[in-house]
């Protein structure tokens, strides 16, 4: 599998459960070594990069850990500060600016335990900014968030474009993928399609990926809304 993204572009990785979305992201982050083949980003394996940030699914961390938001974001700079050193003024400035960029500077001294689900995702993005990441990989950051919070997180991700940060994010909602991402990668154990939403979200391709009937309806602003329709004997049923 090979795909190309411009700097600052946003890619949505979609596909049914178990299609390998998380595995792909972990391999790109260098957290998993492929059984065969190798991962290359800019011609190097992920181990050569320290500018890749990976945001895991939320349940992976112990949110009762006694650290503040500032401490959490500062962790992203551990590598830049180097062993045996303490954070310098410049590091504190970067952390402060990162918290401001994700709208959490008011809570800088709060404990991470106090955050809501959406705030946690923003905090992760803030940490990636402090890490000075050029590529951010997000594993289903919208899972478990309400619609209002979806918008908050998506706005933040869209704004990353200005910072020339490339985003690869896995998600389930095809409409969101169509509306907010420049490219879509459709996965089902292999890459079924890659490209702009218009070329990927085609009924034939979707049927192959999801083995069910999905209807693509062009929405306003050229966005696509994908309806999950009840399917009988392989034929669409209206309604």
């Amino acid at each position: 599998m090979s795909f190309e993204l411009e700097v600052g572009e946003r890619l949505a990785v979609v596909g049914p459960n178990g299609s390998g979305k998380s595995t792909l992201l972990k391999a790109l982050a260098g957290l998993l070594t492929p059984m065969s083949g190798e991962v290359q980003i800019h011609g190097h394996g992920p181990y050569r990069h320290i500018c890749i940030a990976y945001v895991p699914q939320q349940g992976m961390l112990d949110w009762r850990f006694p650290i503040t938001l500032t401490d959490f974001v500062m962790l992203g700079r551990t590598r830049r500060i180097r062993p045996f050193r303490r954070p310098k003024i410049q590091d504190h400035h970067v952390v402060q600016a990162s918290l401001e960029a994700v709208g959490l500077s008011a809570h800088a001294r709060s404990q991470i335990e106090a955050l809501s689900g959406g705030q946690r995702q923003r905090l992760f993005i803030g940490r990636a900014l402090a890490q000075e990441a050029e590529l951010i990989l997000l594993d289903e950051p919208l899972a478990g968030l309400d619609v209002h919070t979806h918008r908050e997180v998506l706005e933040l991700i869209t704004n990353l474009h200005q910072r020339r940060v490339t985003v690869i994010m896995s998600l389930h909602d095809l409409s969101i993928a169509a509306a907010h991402f420049g490219k879509i990668l459709l996965l089902r154990r292999e890459m079924l399609a890659f490209g702009v939403p218009k070329s990927v979200l085609v009924e034939g391709v979707l049927r192959k990926a999801y083995s069910s009937c999905l209807q693509v309806v062009p929405g306003e602003d050229g966005a696509f809304i994908v309806h999950d329709t009840a399917c009988l004997g392989g034929e669409y049923k209206d309604g």
């Binding site: 181990y47 112990d62 650290i67 962790l75 303490r86 940490r127």
Partner: protein, 284 residues
């Protein structure tokens, strides 16, 4: 009152005991903070129990001669066991706690078996299991000082890396920080702490020293640096108060120290529950 406080200090063994109790209290609480935050309490306990065979072999081979060598036997075994457990917890296909449980029980049984071959073993076994802070020599104090300050210095210098590896191993890996190195380091730090505390509270009560002051501090503080500081303070105070109780009431010193730190924990627990209740009941 002054006389009550000063009287024990007329005995050199009490002064040595107090210094050791304070040092061990500080050390155990600081290291214990990482133990509880990483959810390694079981490993800490297992590590303490698993060094018994090393101590037993040292005990048998030294015989009635100089007991100073015993420390190095304990230290060697502890570091080996720590590295072994680090390896098990990383590679094993068993559940980690089951694998460590097997090593822990097996090593402890082996230690008891070895000691039981020596005549009059029960007295010595009691010393290993429950410690004897009043039997601390100047040589022991030097060792506690040297190794203890090295551990504290390492915690200070590698603080951010140890926090990172304890809290978010995934981030450590994406930042290409050598997570396994720091994991093993943490195991070795726990092992050294266990050996240094052996004479104060013994194998049986080691876990309490690692876990209780740090947990108390966690209830009272919000940030990790504060937790480390308050924990160290509580550990030291528990050491001193416990030793005085032991002196005046004739209680085993290790048990007295642990009971005092458990008392502190209960006070902190009640205080934090009361605080939460008040917050819950406060009308908005």
């Amino acid at each position: 009152m002054v006389e009550w406080l000063v009287a024990p200090l007329r005995f050199a063994f009490m002064v040595r005991g107090l210094i050791a109790a304070i040092a061990v209290g500080v050390l155990c609480s600081a290291v214990g903070a990482f133990v509880i935050l990483r959810g390694m309490t079981f490993i800490g306990d297992a590590l303490a129990h698993s060094i018994l065979p090393g101590v037993a072999i040292g005990f048998i081979s030294i015989g009635k001669g100089d007991r100073r060598g015993l420390f190095w036997w304990a230290m060697g075994t502890a570091i080996l066991v720590a590295l072994g457990m680090g390896w098990i917890s990383e590679r094993t296909r068993f559940r980690e706690d089951a694998a460590i449980g097997i090593v822990f029980a097996g090593m402890f049984a082996l230690g008891i078996a070895l000691i039981s071959t020596v005549r009059g073993f029960s007295v010595d076994l009691v010393h290993f299991l429950f410690g004897n802070v009043l039997g601390i020599s100047n040589y022991d104090l030097i060792l506690i000082g040297a190794f203890g300050s090295s551990v504290l210095l390492l915690l200070f210098l590698l603080y951010k890396e140890l926090v990172l590896v304890s809290f978010d191993i995934t981030l450590a890996r994406t930042l290409r920080i050598r997570a396994p190195l720091y994991r093993y380091l943490l195991f070795v730090i726990i092992a050294i702490t266990v050996v240094l505390s052996l004479q104060t509270v013994g194998i049986g009560l080691m876990l309490a020293m690692l876990v209780t002051p740090a947990s108390t501090a966690q209830l009272l503080t919000k940030r990790l640096p504060a937790m480390l500081f308050v924990g160290a303070l509580l550990g030291a105070i528990a050491g001193v108060v416990g030793l005085y109780l032991s002196f005046y009431w004739g209680i085993a010193s290790g048990a007295a120290i642990v009971l005092v730190s458990i008392f502190f924990f209960l006070c902190a627990l009640i205080a934090s529950l009361r605080h939460r209740m008040l917050r819950f009941l406060r009308p908005n």
